[in-house]
Amino acid sequence: MEEMKEVIKDYVIKEYVEDDTEINFDTPLISGGIVDSFSMVSLKRFLENRYQISIPDDKATPDAFDSVNKIVALVNKYLK
């Protein structure tokens, strides 16, 4: 679980953070303006490839992607 949190946090920083903004596991990503809703698609595809899961489009909501902790909870729902 901790490793998954770090992996996802590192991905978010590498993919979306372009300045020195610091994020933790509860930082609001979408409502906080760090990840725009348009860019969620690459995060979803990254999670699906990395964890060999399929997240239904209607579950990949801005709210479900709004923090590292929420993303981890979402991934765990679909892990076999």
């Binding site: 725009d36 348009f38 860019s39 690459s42 595809r45």
Partner: protein, 415 residues
């Protein structure tokens, strides 16, 4: 429904919020034709003030060019005022098709379709050529009209960091399983004035079998040795699949836009693009004016050459004065002030000095990147630019920002 006090109150509250946030947009009334020298009423009811305009998209100084005005008059006389129909019913004249053919030749593409505006072109093109099996991959700083068009399209959408080719390649790899991949960028970015790396983007699109879309609204007519646009500047004429552009900036400044590119994609727009299907196209006098603009620009590069010289003079003048500008070589020259209030104060003081230039701040530009966006024109003479530089120096001295670093300005005024 009756427009009750309750309903009125809802909107009043929203508008008050916009004002309190300092985001309320106020129009300034120009009483003269668009040009380097204009007469402005601001605020509403104030006496007219003669100012030098350095914030118009009138890059080639053609907005009030006598030959263009004369051609528009002639078009009005020969083809009338309006069409009272969309294109495919009875709203297409010979001059509409003539203009499409001229744009095709000018941009070096296969075919062109006119739209009422480039905003409409961008709103219609993506849904016309893509489906849910496809992906759009756009630069994170593309124009708002592209964002709107993307929202109207059923293809999935992803972004890449601004002008970051490594990041773009990673996205092309990530989405390589999609039926079609469309990479989307501005040619010249309107807020920073920087230019897309179209040569690199063409290479990547060829490597990954992707299509390339460029909005060249801030480039058509003057970027590149003969003013064809960013694709000429980058040496990739004929390799851009879709170009959208406007006739509302360098190409006469009136209105209208187009999609130009691969003939099948243009035909898809003619069959499916909703702003084309459900709206009248460009009015006859404007079509006649744009035809004259393209004749002028095809006959000589004098105007874009003058614009290039003016731009070099302006950029050097600002740097020599000790102001911070965004690097580049386009006529969009942002003077960086970083603080929103400072940008408004400087804009107001410049106006008092007879210079019309607008401050931009969040959310139009990122937080902490407030600026005065200046835009140079072939309609400017050196005396206009010298006067504007003197005003910038005077106002810059007042606020003690000349020769200061970004950090020193932020330390004093905040972000």
């Amino acid at each position: 429904m009756a427009y009750t006090d309750k309903i009125r109150g809802i909107y009043t509250e929203i508008l008050t919020g916009i004002k309190e946030a300092g985001l309320f947009k106020q129009e300034r009334y120009i009483h003269s034709a668009q040009a380097a020298d204009i007469e402005v009423e601001f605020p509403s009811g104030a006496s007219l003030k003669k100012v030098i305009n350095i914030c118009a998209n009138n890059y080639l100084g053609l907005s009030s060019h006598p030959e263009v005005v004369k051609a528009a008059h002639a078009g009005l006389d020969s083809h009338g005022y309006g069409m009272s129909s969309v294109r495919f019913i009875c709203g297409t004249q010979d001059i509409h098709r003539k203009l499409e053919q001229m744009v095709t030749k000018f941009l070096g593409t296969e075919d062109t379709i006119l739209f009422p505006s480039c905003m409409d072109a961008n709103a219609g093109v993506f849904e016309a050529v893509l489906t849910k099996d496809d992906v759009m991959i756009s630069d994170r700083l593309v124009h708002a009209s592209i964002i709107d068009g993307i929202r109207l399209c059923s293809a999935i959408h992803d972004t890449f960091k601004h002008s970051d080719m490594e990041h773009l390649e990673s996205k092309l790899q990530l989405h390589n399983d999609k039926r079609l991949k469309l990479v989307i960028t501005d040619g010249v970015f309107s807020m920073d004035g920087d230019t897309a790396k179209l040569d690199k983007m063409v290479e990547l699109c060829e490597k990954y079998d992707a299509l390339l879309f460029v909005d060249d609204s801030h480039a058509s007519g003057f970027i590149g040795k003969t003013g064809r646009g960013t694709h000429e500047h980058c040496g990739v004429m004929g390799k851009i699949d879709i170009i959208t552009t406007t006739f509302g900036k360098g190409l006469g400044g009136a209105s209208g836009g187009c999609v130009s590119g691969r003939k099948e994609l243009v035909e898809m727009c003619r069959q499916k693009a909703r702003p084309y299907l459900f709206s009248n196209t460009i009015a006859p006098p404007v079509v006649a004016g744009v035809i004259k603009v393209l004749e002028i620009l095809s006959a000589s590069t004098d105007r874009r050459d003058k614009l290039e010289k003016n731009t070099q003079f302006w950029r050097k003048g600002l740097i020599d004065a000790g102001l911070i500008i965004k690097e580049g070589d386009t006529p969009i020259v942002p003077v960086m002030l970083f603080n929103a209030k400072l940008s408004q104060d400087v804009s107001r003081d410049l106006y008092q000095e007879g210079i019309y230039a607008i401050g931009f701040f969040f959310p139009v530009v990122p937080q902490g990147q407030a600026r005065i966006r200046t835009q140079i024109s072939a309609g400017h003479e050196i005396h206009h630019l010298e006067k504007a530089l003197d005003a910038f120096k005077k106002v810059g001295k007042k606020y003690e920002i000349l020769g200061k670093t970004k950090q020193e300005i932020i330390d004093r005024y905040g972000m």
